[in-house]
């Protein structure tokens, strides 16, 4: 090797090494002068949603020329991990999207700031619905302001029901009977869009809670008012017996593995007749199905005439290590204002967080109307707080799904399965009280 080459090689090595080391060092704040740069990250990323949020941010930046917002949109599957990693490694993060699913985890690790002090000074806070406040609250403190709510309702093929001379079902028992009449495997037609894969607890929990009815402790919804788990009651057993029948008699066998995509796809492609879903599917139903072939109805109730439902959602919170909390709140206040939030909810298919928004004609007609109707009958449609404060809550879906599948396959008995679920929550309670 001649000398010149050697020098070049050494230089190259030096450059690479320095580059590597520089990559390790933490990033500076980047806020030169008076201009504040906020870093904001979303979790429930989807192309359309990102575009809508970006548009709101641009509006905010125009109104506040001294604040710049750097918006990070990781792919949905990795978003929560990315957020955790950024928080864990003390990277600058000011506004983050917190989900009902993981808020307890973030609070527990001290990553997010309570927002009560800011919210109390906010003029529009009064019109934020009680449900929205409750979604963002962990043990009396508000940790995020939801950017919209998800709430389950029933979607059904009105043409199929009409053809068979049936009315939309109002109870779980009726839902089963109706679905059974619609089922004709020879025509590849099934009554119910079953979901036995990821997210199966959406059905099992809903049925068990509806059957337990008044017994359920609404603040601690996996337990009855007597302190036993909701899975230990005879009502739970009755609910699960119907659940098994729903799968065997009214659903395609394949649906044992179905998650969100398959469940919705089966409904839009004309394989299944009844779908229980959140309003974010409305747009894809409108796009893929002929108008007049489908309609919405309220959730079905249990034997005592009650349906328990929970509103889910994600929203904006402030990282506890943020150096620009005032500016971060300003951004959250802007995004959560009645005007911005209502427009966002309309465009993306969510329930707006302000009670004033339900006055809007848009929510009074069409597929959203059912949801408003439901909220007008609080005695029938009872709101409960999901058990997100427990450490195992993230794992519950997976545990219940796998044991539920094994029940559907006939590999384990109903008693064993309910016993397992009962154990799971007894242990959760013990761990929380530790």
């Amino acid at each position: 090797m001649n000398k010149r080459k050697k020098v070049l090689a050494s230089l190259l090595c030096a450059v690479v090494t320095v580059g590597l080391l520089a990559g390790c060092s933490s990033k500076g704040n980047g806020d030169g002068g008076d201009k504040v740069t906020l870093r904001m990250i979303e979790s429930l990323t989807s192309p359309k949603r990102t575009e809508l949020i970006q548009a709101m941010i641009t509006k905010f930046e125009t109104a506040n020329p001294n604040i710049k917002v750097e918006f990070i949109s990781p792919p949905f599957d990795q978003a929560d991990n990315k957020i955790r990693t950024m928080l864990g490694s003390d990277e600058q993060l000011d506004v983050l999207e917190v989900r009902d699913l993981n808020v307890a985890e973030l609070v527990n690790n001290g990553y997010v700031e309570p927002l009560n002090a800011y919210a109390d000074k906010w003029k529009d806070y009064a019109s934020v619905s009680a449900v929205s406040k409750s979604v963002g609250t962990v043990s009396d403190k508000l940790y995020f302001v939801p950017n919209g709510l998800y709430e389950r309702q029933m979607f059904y093929r009105s043409d199929w029901l009409k053809e068979a001379g049936l009315n939309p079902p109002t109870t779980w028992e009726e839902l089963y009977e109706t679905a059974k009449k619609l089922t004709d495997p020879a025509k590849n037609r099934f009554g119910f869009s079953f979901r036995g894969g990821a997210g199966s607890t959406g059905t099992t929990d809903a049925m068990i809670l509806a059957y337990n009815g008044d017994k359920v402790n609404l603040e601690d919804s996996m337990f009855t008012k007597d302190g036993a788990t909701v899975f230990s009651t005879p009502e739970a057993k009755a609910a699960m017996e119907l659940y098994l029948k729903l799968y065997k008699d009214t659903s395609p066998p394949d649906s044992i593995n179905w998650g969100f995509q398959e469940q919705v796809q089966a409904f839009t492609s004309g394989v299944t007749g009844i779908l229980l879903q959140d309003p974010d599917v409305i747009q894809s139903l409108q796009e893929k199905m002929t108008e007049g072939t489908w309609a919405t109805a309220p959730l079905v109730t249990g034997p005592t005439g009650k349906a328990l439902f929970a509103a889910g959602g994600a929203g904006w919170g402030i990282a506890s290590k943020s150096k620009h909390k005032e500016e971060a709140w300003k951004l959250i206040e802007f995004l959560s204002s009645p005007a911005e939030n209502t427009a966002f909810s309309k465009d993306y298919g969510l329930i707006p967080i302000h009670t004033s928004a339900t006055e809007d004609e848009f929510f009074k007609t069409g597929p959203y109307k059912t949801l408003i109707d439901m909220s007008n009958k609080p005695d029938t449609f009872v709101n409960f707080k999901p058990p997100f404060q427990y450490p195992g809550t993230g794992n519950w879906g997976q545990v219940a799904m796998e044991s539920g599948q094994s029940l559907l396959l006939g590999k384990s008995t109903l008693e064993d399965t309910l016993g397992k679920w009962d154990d799971f929550w007894v242990i959760q309670k013990a761990e929380l009280q530790k």
């Binding site: 690479v16 390790c24 690790n109 099934f190 894969g197 593995n257 993230g394």
Partner: protein, 293 residues
Amino acid sequence: MKKQRLFILSGLIPALLLVLAFTYYPFLKGIIMAFQEYKLFDLRGVHFVGLDNFKAAFDDPKFLSALENSGYWVFFSLILQFLFGFSLALVLKKQFRGRGVYQGFVFYSWALSGFLIGMIWKWMFNSQIGVINDLLLQAGIIHERIGFLSDPKWAMISVIIANVWYGIAFFAIMLLAALQSVPSELYEAAVMDGANGFRRLWNVTLPYILPTIIATTLLRAIWIFNDPTIIYGLTNGGPAGSTHILSSLMLDRIIYAGDYGAASAIGIIMIVILLFYTIFFLSVTKAEKAGEF
């Protein structure tokens, strides 16, 4: 001389730093976590728990079935990928019109990500709206729809089929390269000696490319063992955990349970299995001088 050494060392530094930071540090950290209670939900409560994570793994029927499934997964995927890949390489060795284009098409699967392949096959296997059921029904081969991913009898077979489809291209590429390096004089001599097609394959081609075969199959076995992406995309281990292999179960522990301790313990068990495998691998390759390429 000393200067020379110093120069070499400084040249190695960037690569060394990279390997240390991105291979050995996570590796060590993983070993430590395997002996800790390390849950995302409570990062302030991390503490050592001895062998608890390992005990929990071996007490878990899901882990044991994943261990068994890993065996099937590697064995059948490997054999079938090899057989189809080798046949494909033999066909592609011959000159024919449009060979380049054809080659591009069949090698394409290798360029896709495992997760994407999982997603594609998931829709194809769907029993209600999937194309596979549809074709089989129309051809009159079956009369009832098969729940490829929902019937535990079929689920493991289905994920292996998808994996075979994915891996054929790898063997075809590697073996085709080896086949093209066999000197044509050997075949000419074999023809002179009166060897037929099968004898030429058995006595000339195979011995010549044996080192490549051994090296690729042994390496590929490790990749298949470690790769959870297809299963993650296709069934996510379902139904009822019946298609989990060790690596997908490890992912499951991280993604759903946020339990890094339990996941790391599974990781360590995988490392031990691979360690034994590597010893076997090295002794075989040494015997056959397979490390030449």
